[in-house]
């Protein structure tokens, strides 16, 4: 395959996963911080808070996973490989 396309794909894959990790990282940090605050304020609600937190963390996680899927497509199933 064209070395230019290969190098562009590798760079794009790295950027896709790296950039996709920024937003969810901030979001997960915020959510976890708030959850800890909630637990500190109301320790008896810990179970409920933890359940909701895990679910929302999974949603945020999936945003990074979309980036990962794009990166994997670029690396292993590149449509421009020709």
């Amino acid at each position: 395959m064209d070395p230019q396309i290969a190098s562009a794909s590798v760079l794009a894959a790295a950027l896709a996963i790296g950039l996709a990790a920024i937003g969810p990282g901030i979001g997960q940090g915020n959510a976890s911080g708030q959850a800890v605050e909630g637990i500190a304020r109301q320790p008896e609600a810990e179970g409920k808070i933890r359940g909701t937190l895990l679910l929302t963390l999974a949603f945020m996680e999936s945003l990074t996973i979309y980036g990962l899927v794009i990166a994997l497509v670029l690396l292993f199933a590149n449509p421009f490989a020709g």
């Binding site: 395959m1 070395p3 396309i5 290969a6 794909s9 590798v10 895990l54 679910l55 999974a58 949603f59 996680e61 999936s62 996973i65 979309y66 990962l68 899927v69 994997l72 670029l74 690396l75 292993f76 199933a77 590149n78 490989a81």
Partner: protein, 257 residues
């Protein structure tokens, strides 16, 4: 494992330009009529189905008033799934949807865990390798499209043609976005499940490649946890979409991604 390891070795030794020619999935193709299917996914799916069927049969074969063993486990599973559907769809309408949501949850859960717990790599097949059925995008897309069909059916049956009023409900200006939503829902559902499971298996494979003993164990346990959460997320979202279709737009949308 060998196969994926060698594949990942190439992946780690990046810089060679043959990189993008590799595929994550080398598939074991079966020819059915004029269809080409991924045989390894069929085999693992059948095993998952067999597991679930055997478990249900064992649980219901000899039902006791005081549950024991298998019956106890399956009753716990049923209660879990029922509560999940009840929390999302609501007290009044959840009952007919318990089988659908429950099947989704149990199938995805057992499929994800089978990929981590069953030593598939010991079984050699001519090409490709056995893994969790959900790490093939075709499986997850099929499940997501089933969810799409289910919520269209739910809305259409409950409110007839009035269901399609939701597209122009607040204002017709949002019509393109409302239509787009119907496409992004299955897309995000399928990509989320597929990406998570594939990412788990890749991370474990890379770690096994670097340090074969003990070090991958915590990541494997994390993988089990993520797999369970993903099954829960899929089932929760499916029931949230069904609820949205039953209730009409403008209700609570707090579970939309």
């Amino acid at each position: 494992m060998m196969h994926q390891s060698s594949l990942l070795l190439d992946f780690v030794q990046a810089g060679t330009f043959s990189l993008a020619k590799l595929e994550v999935g080398h598939h074991f193709y079966w020819q059915l009529g004029n269809l080409k299917v991924h045989g390894q996914v069929f085999m693992t799916t059948w095993l998952v189905m067999a597991l679930l069927i055997v478990a249900s049969l064992a649980a219901t074969r000899n039902i006791q008033r005081i549950p024991q063993g298998m019956q106890n486990l399956m009753e716990y599973a049923l209660e879990f799934v029922r509560d999940l559907a009840k929390n999302q769809i609501g007290e009044k309408e959840y009952r007919p949807w318990v089988p659908f949501v429950g099947t989704l949850f149990l199938f995805i859960f057992v499929a994800n865990w089978s990929g981590a717990l069953v030593p598939w790599k010991l079984i050699r097949i001519p090409e490709g390798e056995l893994a969790a059925p959900t790490n093939d995008i075709n499986t997850t897309v099929a499940l997501a499209l089933l969810v799409s069909l289910a919520y269209f059916y739910a809305g259409f049956r409950k409110r007839g043609l009035g269901y399609f009023g939701k597209y122009i409900e607040p204002t017709p200006v949002l019509l393109p976005i409302a239509i787009l939503e119907d496409f992004t829902k299955p897309l995000s559902l399928s990509f989320r499940l597929f990406g998570n499971i594939l990412a788990d298996e890749l991370v474990v494979a890379v770690l096994v490649l670097l340090v074969p003993l003990f070090v991958p164990l915590p990541v494997m346990i994390l993988g089990l946890f993520t797999s369970a959460i993903q099954a829960l997320v899929f089932a929760t979202l499916a029931s949230a979409y069904i609820h949205e279709a039953l209730e009409g737009h403008g209700g609570d949308e707090h579970h939309a991604p």
